[in-house]
Amino acid sequence: MDLDDQGNVQKLADETGKDEMIVILGQPDPNSAGLFAETVTSGDPTWAGPLAGVPLGLPVYHVLESEIKEQMDPDLYMEHVGLMELSADVDEIIKWVKFYREGGGK
């Protein structure tokens, strides 16, 4: 994740608290989705940014996960996610985001 954005996420977590915070991802492949999920849970795996060694432990979900999808406006979802939903490896993306959400990689 971009180093400035790591800093922004860390600042938000520190200032507003993590209790009501949730991260939603929109990456189109398992590698990038997993990397971002890891960064906001167990810390920056590249050790380059402010979240290196900082396990924020934020709840992270992908927009393709059904429990997230079903809460969103269906027309908007079709417009903004529909194409990616057809082409992406949905199961593999969700597998890796869930892996890190549930504490994997620590």
Binding site: M1, D2, V9, M21, V63, Q71, L76, Y77
Partner: protein
């Protein structure tokens, strides 16, 4: 995970679903988006 009332950090990607789109979608689920960004993964 119920999104209603949650403070959402939306991390989109240019080749996937971008930040502004995630913001619209999260707001349609009555969440409050506190930060959204579009990354470029290389």
């Amino acid at each position: 995970m119920n999104l209603e009332g949650k403070q959402v950090v939306a991390i989109g990607e240019r080749e996937g679903v971008n930040g502004p789109s995630l913001r619209l979608l999260a707001e349609s689920a009555n969440a409050k988006v506190v930060f959204s960004v579009t990354q470029c993964f290389v």
